[in-house]
């Protein structure tokens, strides 16, 4: 299946250290699961040295991640290499069992030709095996373990994550055999992005926008949507309402591929979490590092930035919480942060303060649109 991705591989260059999760059709995933079972049983029943096999999972941590730059473009992405950690029955029986239970579920789901939400899967597992799955986190982590083990994407396993994403603006979406959706005439909540990556990949996109603006928060997205910013400034607005889920990243990536001359700007709060969100769109994530490297985009930081702080009243600043500092520390020690972003982050930490985009409303509710337009026109982004 790697051959099918040759185009994508050449874009990122040949790199033998990159570990990737393949996008596979159901029969192929079931075949991999069957191989897993057969290997396990063969080890159990070995006449000379019976053993309970250990599951080798690609490590999903910062020690195993690296940055690679694209040869043909400015896109850099975070990727995971061949460092493994072990899931063993003897050391952590519950986690070991969770992997098998998810494999069992996935095998059955794919056998029935279904695609289920991560949330649905949680409820199913909660009712079947409450001893092992008591919270969504258990399910999500077990799914990522199976992704790491079988090296295939989450959606290939028959599981998709609900997307919280929405988009609006000068974009027309056309699902095959469906009506067109003109995203410029929608209500302020915009068009909800589906979690089904397969569906998203089949969408036809057409647009006359000049920019794509990624917005961190839903409230800002809605404000800009209500003000119909995209009628004043030809753009597409997109948000994941917080931390970027894979589907939102996917569609953003598709936009960047379909409209290569359309720059992507990020509008985030001035705090470490905002920067982290932008970096996730920009480089991908470690926790889904086997898949997300595909969807990295060249995102530029529009605002809020250090230079904009003079626009905000002193009273709008808040103290950085311990959580913020934790995120800052993790970002500062990462390999991918570019110099200018690093300087902004350092300033945040030094000042010890954070500020939300809403602080700009002190100048009036229509100020934000003007602020964005001015910055873009002036080329004030990093």
């Amino acid at each position: 299946m790697a051959e099918a991705n040759v185009a994508a591989a050449s874009l990122f260059g040949v790199d033998s250290r990159l570990c990737s999760a393949d996008i596979l059709a159901p029969p192929e995933v079931r075949a991999r699961i069957e191989v897993a079972v057969l290997n396990f049983l063969a080890a159990l029943a070995s006449p000379s040295s019976p053993a309970i096999s250990v599951l080798p999972l690609i490590s999903r941590n910062s020690a195993n991640c690296s940055l690679r730059s694209g040869l043909l473009n400015d896109v850099s992405s975070v990727y995971l290499s061949h460092t493994f950690c072990k899931r063993s029955l003897m050391h952590n029986p519950k986690a070991f069992l969770r992997v098998w239970k998810v494999m069992e579920m996935s095998y059955k789901i794919l056998g029935e030709g279904k695609l289920v939400h991560q949330r649905e899967l949680f409820y199913k597992l909660l009712s079947d095996s409450p001893k092992y799955f008591s919270c969504q986190r258990h399910v999500n982590q077990a799914i990522q373990d199976v992704v790491s083990l079988l090296r295939c994407t989450r959606q290939s396993l028959g599981v998709m994550a609900s997307s919280r994403g929405a988009l609006i603006g000068r974009l027309v979406l056309h699902e095959p055999d469906e009506d067109q959706i003109d995203c410029s005439i929608l209500g302020a909540s915009g068009h909800a992005i589906t979690g089904d990556l397969n569906l998203l990949s089949k969408l036809n996109l057409s647009s006359d926008a000049r920019y794509t603006i990624v917005v961190e928060k839903d409230a800002i997205f809605q404000r800009l949507a209500e003000d119909r910013l995209y009628n004043q400034l030809p753009c597409i607005l997109i948000t994941a309402k917080g931390y970027p889920d894979i589907a939102t990243r996917f569609i953003l990536h598709r936009l960047s591929q379909t409209f290569p001359n359309m720059p992507i700007f990020a509008l985030v709060d001035w705090n470490p979490a905002g920067l982290a969100i932008m970096c996730t769109y920009k480089y991908g994530s470690i926790s889904m590092g086997l898949e997300s490297y595909r969807y990295a985009c060249n995102v530029k930081w529009l605002g809020m930035r250090g230079d904009d702080l003079q626009l905000i009243p002193e009273s709008a600043f808040q103290v950085l919480k311990p959580r913020d500092l934790q995120i800052a520390k993790s970002l500062l020690s990462s390999k991918f942060l570019q110099e200018s972003h690093r300087a902004e982050l350092t300033l945040m930490v030094e000042r010890g303060k954070r500020a939300d985009i809403e602080a700009l409303y002190s100048h009036g509710f229509d100020y934000l649109g003007k602020y964005i337009a001015r910055k873009i026109v002036q080329g004030d982004y990093i």
């Binding site: 897993a36 029943a45 999972l57 056998g111 970002l331």
Partner: protein, 466 residues
Amino acid sequence: MASTSSPHRKLLHSLVYWAVQRCRMSESPCRLTVSLKRPAEPATASSSPLRVSVSDTGVGSKLEEFLELDALARETPVEKWDGTLLITTTGINDEAIYRYRINLQEEISSARFSKLATTYKNHARFSGTEVCLCLSNDADVDDLILWLVGFFRKIQVIRAANLACELFVEQTGNADSRNVCLTQDSDDVHHSVTASSIDQLVSGLKDYTHFHGNTCDKCGACSLNRDLLKIGTGAANHVDRRKSKGLHVEVVIVIAHTASDSTCCMVNCPSTQVLYFEDFVPCQISQSSFDVLMSTDWQSYGFKLKGGLMGDEGNVVLEWANMTFAPTAMQERQGSQQDRYLVRKALKSALSHLKADHAGDFLSCHGQRVREYVPDLAESIAGLILSSTDEEFQDECIALLGLGSEQDISEGAVQSSISEKMIRIIEMNDTKENAEDNVPYLFECEELDEDSELDEDGDEDMAFDF
């Protein structure tokens, strides 16, 4: 230690100890007899004393050991024991039987020993010693007798080769006299001379468990279950060339299988009695041996130690938190010095022996915890296999499990097969030190840079979870 122990007990303990050593030094079969004659009247200050005699057919005594009772004699109030011993002894090559009176209360050392009338043996060949003394007949006598019975019961456990021990307690001058008579069972006296000391220990301990310690009657239910006892033995020794004596430690562990249908109420008791012997005589456990007991890694064998108590008489009771079995007794035997290392080694050896002989029963606590997950894991894999529409895959799985080519294999059968195999592997690898080294990976990995074990809360990734 055990200063609360009555002087009577210490005295008798010492006399019996030396009698046992004298018997061991003799090369022929010996008999040791302790006899107690108590008058029937209730205890009063002027009542007749308790007459005690400790006699053995071992080598003759050189009397030196009795001088060690000096300190004890001084501590003991005269009313309890007047410090006098009447000793009759003869060695195998002696021509006569010698009699002495020793008075340890006597200040003047020259007046301590008095030699009494000698009897000539007329070429008869025998050896032995009899020590007679009088103790006060006070209110504690019943306790003393009870202790003595327990003490003898323990001596009989050890079954020192060639030694038969007996205890007689007679109450004189009363119509309904209560007599106690503890002799070695006749079949035990015939135990093979060539049987090793550890085998004797095992045999003795098995019987001891049926007596549940101090009582005189065998428990019927437990006698029937004699063969269900699980035994582990271990030994360690150290030879010191400079001293001619070596140090030898033996440990025997006996575990009774708890049966819910047993009529015996002692069977399900979650505690272990530890019997400790030095030179074939029941003794107070040494602090270092007690420490070894408390610090042993019981969890590797599936036991959870709740605590240990060292009682007045040096008896040790270990209490267990989890009880599927009720260990009943353990004993050690060693030379004159204590060596913590040897005790630990012998104990570990006994536990390993138990584990090796009864694989699944003594799985470490960690192994037991993991084993609990096996049925669920087997169920998941079996469910996966049987949900498949791919017959070839199913057939291959069933063939790997060795389940034969029957038409309809049930999910239950597949699950059981997987379960059994996994449990066997867990048991096999339980406390193997290098068990982790060669565990196969489910898939081949290109490079094996091993990271540390994933923990549940890992994955910081900017603290996000998508």
